[in-house]
């Protein structure tokens, strides 16, 4: 057996051990002696991380693995196996997943300390790691789908980790169900892929792809391009998982889960699965211009849309959540523009700084006794310096300050979008630029409101304010290094680098559609630097100098503010149109009328009709002999007449 089989298997066994025996371990060793359930998970994930590094090295040496483990489902032509494909793309994902997961595991030791579901938390984290690894290592669509759904399940478990809270339970369900809407399209896409190509293995599908380009298919009476339909169906799944418009509504609610979960699942790894999937199936998307434009438009709109909402939110985790949606929009933009490598590059850098942002937020929450409202914070800089400095680095990175990792990836995306030459690419590029400005603004709004100025919270809280324990601080520092340096692997040519990251991924996802002219490169870079500095400066001016300005702006643009503050009323709309409608239909027409009246009416109606007619018929039995004799005589008469009539005919 090859070592790579162990990469998902180790976290899986950690999960099994933990879920079965975790409680006992915790009980035996007790809270004080800190050999808790986390060691099993930690061990599993750490070894997976080490093996991933080995795998990356192997891939760099040119050993691409594509091997089947065993046959999962056989039915007719359908042969699906559980197998592993480890190429450059997978290698990147392996590193991202296992490293962030490992750090979040370490962080959780401190963060979840004393929670009664301690072992449960770690077992689910391990299960998530396993599922995510299965997702990225899959060598066929169905296994991808397996991982896809399993990470959704883990997300469900972990969002609803504090299930006693009704909001947490509802958010968990919402996340799962909204994702199911996306998966609906995804699963149909997988089926269409199978029916078109007769196989679900990536390699075979991509091989058969040239043969079906130009084929038509009838969908609801329209004849459309087959590849486009497949690509759009796959996009459905990606939209759901990566929280793009219009299925983004679950991600902000998902912040009900513990913060490490938000960092790992709802920022760094799971939500990027959509981007990963698009990159993985890049040949299919490349074959359909329509699908690419769709993806790019969705990405651009989502990026801008989410960034505007993030401007006015007061819940620190929600701001970061909307920022995640917005950054995922960038990745979609990149994929849509055909620059898959840069989408993945942004995914990779984003994983570090976004996980860091979340973990810092968790650290702040930890100190603030669970308070999330940034309006009630302030001046935390002096109490928690590690958290402050790391979060500042992350914010600088996300804002795209030159030299930090976020700068390289975002800049490249904007450039490649502009250069792609696809329809609407200009519009999307403008949206991306605006988003860059907004991103810098809201990121620093959080920084300034949280760490600068005076403490605006409850007076008593000041006694509790303290830096987080080392197990939490250590991951912050490691991630901060990542947030700063992760981008160095992909320094573009124009800055004297070699674009090493994109070169590395080229065998899998191909080159970008166009490098863009030198002039474009410099203009885009300049504009994006301008946007980020403007955003930071604007935030500093508004939230440090003129602290009453936000209030004034909010009042004078009252409608716009409440529109943004209420997230464009999307939740309310969905509640009205989807949720209510479902329940209405179910309760009224279906349950009460069709089932209750019509079907049950017929079913119970037949016996009651019989009973009714019997009640009428029994009146014939008067019990009076005279009536019976009369009827007998009448019968006799009738018989005689009948016989006579027959005789009459004969004669």
């Amino acid at each position: 057996m090859q070592y790579y089989v162990l990469i998902p298997l180790l976290p899986l066994s950690a999960f099994v051990l933990n879920i079965l025996f975790g409680k006992k371990i915790t009980n035996i060793f007790g809270e004080s002696f800190k050999i808790g359930a986390h060691w099993i998970s930690l061990l599993g994930v750490a070894s997976a991380f080490v093996l991933s590094i080995i795998a990356v090295k192997d891939v760099m040496d040119g050993h691409v693995v594509n091997a089947d483990l065993y046959t999962w489902i056989t039915s007719g032509n359908l042969r699906v196996s559980i197998g592993f494909l480890i190429d450059q793309l997978t290698a990147v994902m392996l590193v991202v997943v296992t490293s962030v997961s490992l750090l979040v595991h370490v962080y959780s030791i401190g963060y979840m300390h004393g929670d009664k579901g301690y072992y449960r938390f770690f077992s689910f984290l391990s299960l998530f790691t396993f599922s995510m690894l299965m997702l990225v290592m899959a060598n066929n669509f169905l296994q991808l789908y397996f991982g896809w759904e399993m990470v959704g399940l883990c997300s469900y478990f972990l969002i609803g980790f504090w299930y006693e809270k009704k909001s947490a339970a509802s958010a968990a369900k919402k996340a799962f169900v909204v994702n199911r809407f996306g998966d609906f399209g995804f699963s149909l896409g997988v089926m269409l892929v199978f029916l078109t190509f007769g196989t679900l293995h990536y390699a075979d599908v991509f091989q058969g792809l040239p043969g079906i380009i130009g084929q038509k298919i009838t969908v609801l009476g329209f004849r459309t391009d087959l590849v486009t339909v497949i690509a759009l169906l796959l996009t459905c799944g990606a939209i759901g998982k990566s929280a793009q418009l219009p299925l983004h509504a679950w991600l902000p609610d998902a912040m009900e889960g513990p913060t490490p979960v938000s960092a790992l699942i709802h920022a760094a790894t799971m939500v990027t699965a959509g981007v990963f999937m698009i990159a993985r199936t890049a040949p299919i998307f490349n074959a359909s211009r329509t699908a690419m434009v769709c993806v790019m438009l969705i990405g651009g709109c989502t990026a801008f849309f989410a960034a505007t909402i993030a401007l006015v939110q007061n819940d620190i985790k929600r701001v970061i959540a909307y920022s995640t949606i917005s950054q995922l929009g960038y990745m979609f933009m990149a994929c849509g523009a055909g620059a898959y490598a840069f989408g993945i590059f942004h995914l990779y850098t984003h994983a570090f700084f976004k996980a860091l942002l979340f973990l810092c937020a968790g650290s702040v929450m930890h100190a603030m006794q669970g308070e999330l409202n940034i309006q009630k914070m302030g001046g935390l800089k002096k109490y928690m310096p590690v958290t402050y400095w790391t979060m500042l680095l992350a914010s600088l990175s996300i804002s795209g300050v030159p030299g930090l990792s976020g700068f390289f990836s975002k800049d490249e995306i904007l450039l490649k979008t502009l250069a792609s030459g696809l329809p609407f690419s200009g519009v999307v590029w403008v949206l991306g630029m605006l988003t860059a400005f907004l991103t810098a603004f809201y990121s620093f709004r959080v920084i300034f409101l949280t760490f600068h100025g005076k403490f605006r919270g409850h007076g008593e809280l000041t006694h509790h304010l303290h830096e987080s324990p080392p197990s939490m601080a250590f991951p912050l520092m490691v991630l901060a290094v990542g947030a700063v340096a992760a981008g160095f692997v992909g320094i573009p040519h124009s800055l004297g680098g070699h674009d090493a990251f994109a070169r590395f991924l080229e065998p899998v996802v191909g080159e970008a559609r166009s490098e863009g002219s030198v002039a474009q490169q410099w203009v885009v870079m300049g504009l994006s630097i301008l946007a980020s500095t403007a955003g930071i400066a604007g935030a500093a001016y508004v939230y440090l100098k003129k602290t009453d300005l936000p209030q004034m702006v909010a009042e004078s643009f009252h409608h716009l503010h409440s529109l943004l503050y209420n997230k464009y009323y999307v939740d309310e709309l969905y509640d009205l149109v989807v949720v209510r409608l479902f329940y209405r239909i179910s309760r009224g027409p279906i349950n009460r009328i069709v089932d209750g009246r019509i079907i049950e009416g017929v079913v119970n109606g037949v016996p009651s009709l019989i009973a009714w007619s019997a009640a009428r018929l029994r009146r014939v039995q008067t019990g009076v002999v005279l009536h019976y004799s009369l009827v007998m005589a009448g019968g006799l008469f009738a018989m005689v007449v009948y016989v006579l009539a027959r005789l009459w005919k004969v004669i």
Partner: protein
């Protein structure tokens, strides 16, 4: 493959004879009666294992055949055998038998002896249904099973049990009577009840249509398909736990099994012609059954309606009439038996403690009974078809089958997955999450006996989910030969409406 001992007869008559023997045991020895019933059920299960081991997966012929002369004048004989379509159902029946005995250990308190007699009789007759290769014998088992089942619902059921039992009985009886008429017609034409001989008889198309609808009446009620499903929620809700489990796991599979065993091979052209109608009904059942779950406030009723939806997948798969669909449908039959059986067992466990089935009376159960919550979670996930559980494999194959037969039916069936997730997770949330409802505070978690009852099903959920090939390999050959038979005749799909009309006309005549 033949044994030197009649294994199928043993499987059928071991429980039946044990049930009859129990009649002579005094009702005072309750413990002895329970242990006896458990032993009988376990022995039956153990006897079914050699069947499993020695089954030859490479052939579509009937195996373990037993044939004895019975009533020669009518062309009927005592003829048993299994193939890839029925063997898994036999195994599921024997397994379910044990679980039903075990789950009723303390929950059935009065008329204990009679209860176990009825239970054992049902088990034996059910196995008989799945093994019979003679239509007359099949009909006898089919009807015989109804009587003890009627008693289980009507005697040991909930407050509204009489209504439910009578409804169940009349519904199924009406269907069965039409099937009986069909049987007689079939015998009149072919002069035999022997299934294998009948399969070699080419019936005229119009006759096939009539017979198809006659058999449809019986099978559709059992499945239950869309307009004739309303007995199911009532019967499930009122039945005792073991009754619900038997209903869900085995009894309603008999309808789908009937389609596969009789309707499709005996009336191939009619089945092909009527398949679109069946597909429409199946899709309606999937969506309708799922939507109606959202309006339910009773745990068992909700699961019962979800059965309607899931059985819609089964019939969709069968009438998709391609390898994926039929195999998926068959696997989905097993899956639904395992999963819904598990859900009903779980509800029985908690009902024994709280004596309420109203969802509103629960809440926060996960804090009170964590192990139970874990079990229920797995069954819930399997029910919504999460990959890695058995539900996914079945649903995927069925939808794939439906999709390749008719895209729209596949798409609509796939919406069933969304709806399924909504109602099951909503149910789970209302029962297990949020703060602890005071009515259920302090309940004991599952006992060892209850855990052991649920565990086999849990293992099956994961096993089929992770390595379904083991189970699919049993069916492959049989399904392929069935499909080959189905598609050998002239396919005339354009003439469906004419078929319906002439079929109806023939009925009138």
């Amino acid at each position: 493959m033949r044994f030197d001992y009649p294994i199928l007869s043993i499987l059928i008559f071991l429980p039946v004879v044990s049930g009859i023997l129990l009649i002579f045991v005094s009702r005072r020895f309750e413990r002895a009666i329970k242990w006896f019933a458990l032993t009988a059920a376990t022995l039956t299960f153990l006897f079914s294992l050699p069947l499993f081991m020695n089954f030859d997966k490479g052939t579509s012929r009937m195996q373990f055949i037993e044939r004895h002369a019975w009533i020669d004048d009518w062309g009927t004989s005592y003829f048993l055998g299994v193939d890839g379509i029925s063997i898994l159902m036999v195994l599921l029946s024997t397994l379910t038998g044990i679980l039903c005995v075990s789950i009723s250990w303390y929950s059935v308190k009065d008329k204990v002896k009679e209860f176990y007699i009825a239970l054992l009789l049902v088990e034996g007759f059910m196995i008989g249904v799945f093994c019979s290769l003679d239509l007359f014998l099949f009909y006898i088992f089919w009807e015989a099973m109804l009587i003890p089942m009627y008693l289980i619902v009507g005697v040991w059921g909930g407050p509204n049990r009489i209504y439910a039992a009578i409804k169940f009985f009349i519904y199924t009886l009406v269907g069965s009577v039409l099937m009986l008429v069909g049987l007689i017609v079939l015998h009149h034409v072919a002069d035999t009840f022997d299934l294998l001989k009948l399969m070699n008889t080419q019936l005229p198309y119009n006759l096939q249509l009539i017979l198809f609808w006659a058999f449809f009446a019986a099978f559709a009620v059992k499945v239950p398909m869309f307009p004739v499903h309303t007995w199911l929620p009532d019967a499930h809700t009122e039945a005792p736990t073991a009754g619900s489990v038997l209903l869900a796991a085995i009894l309603i599979k008999m309808g789908a099994y009937g389609f596969l065993r009789f309707s499709l091979p005996l009336f191939p052209q009619a089945s092909v012609a009527m398949a679109p109608v069946m597909l429409v009904l199946s899709v309606i059942a999937i969506v309708y059954g799922g939507l109606i779950c959202l309006a339910q406030s009773d745990l068992k009723r909700l699961i019962a309606y979800s059965s309607v939806s899931h059985m819609g997948f089964v019939t969709l798969g069968i009438f998709a009439m391609n390898g994926y669909g039929v195999q998926g449908g068959l696997l989905q039959m097993i899956n639904h038996g395992v999963v819904t059986g598990g859900l009903f067992l779980s509800i029985g466990i908690v009902y024994e403690r709280t004596h309420t089935r109203q969802i509103a009376d629960y809440g926060g159960l996960a804090s009170v009974m964590p192990i139970f919550a874990a079990f229920f979670m797995v069954f819930t996930l399997a029910s919504i078809g999460l990959p890695g559980t058995n539900g996914f494999v079945g649903e995927f194959l069925v939808i794939l089958g439906g999709f390749s037969r008719n895209r729209l039916s596949g798409v609509l069936a796939a919406t069933g997955i969304i709806i399924g997730a909504i109602y099951m997770l909503w149910l789970y949330q209302r029962v297990f999450f949020t703060s602890v409802n005071e009515r259920i505070a302090g309940l004991k978690d599952v006992s060892l006996r209850e855990g052991l009852t649920l565990l086999p099903l849990l293992i099956l959920v994961i096993w089929i989910g992770v390595y379904p090939d083991f189970f699919l390999s049993f069916m492959g050959t049989s399904v392929n030969s069935l499909l080959a038979r189905l598609h050998q005749g002239p396919l005339d799909q354009s003439n469906v409406m004419n078929g319906v009309i002439s079929g109806a006309g023939a009925f009138v005549k």
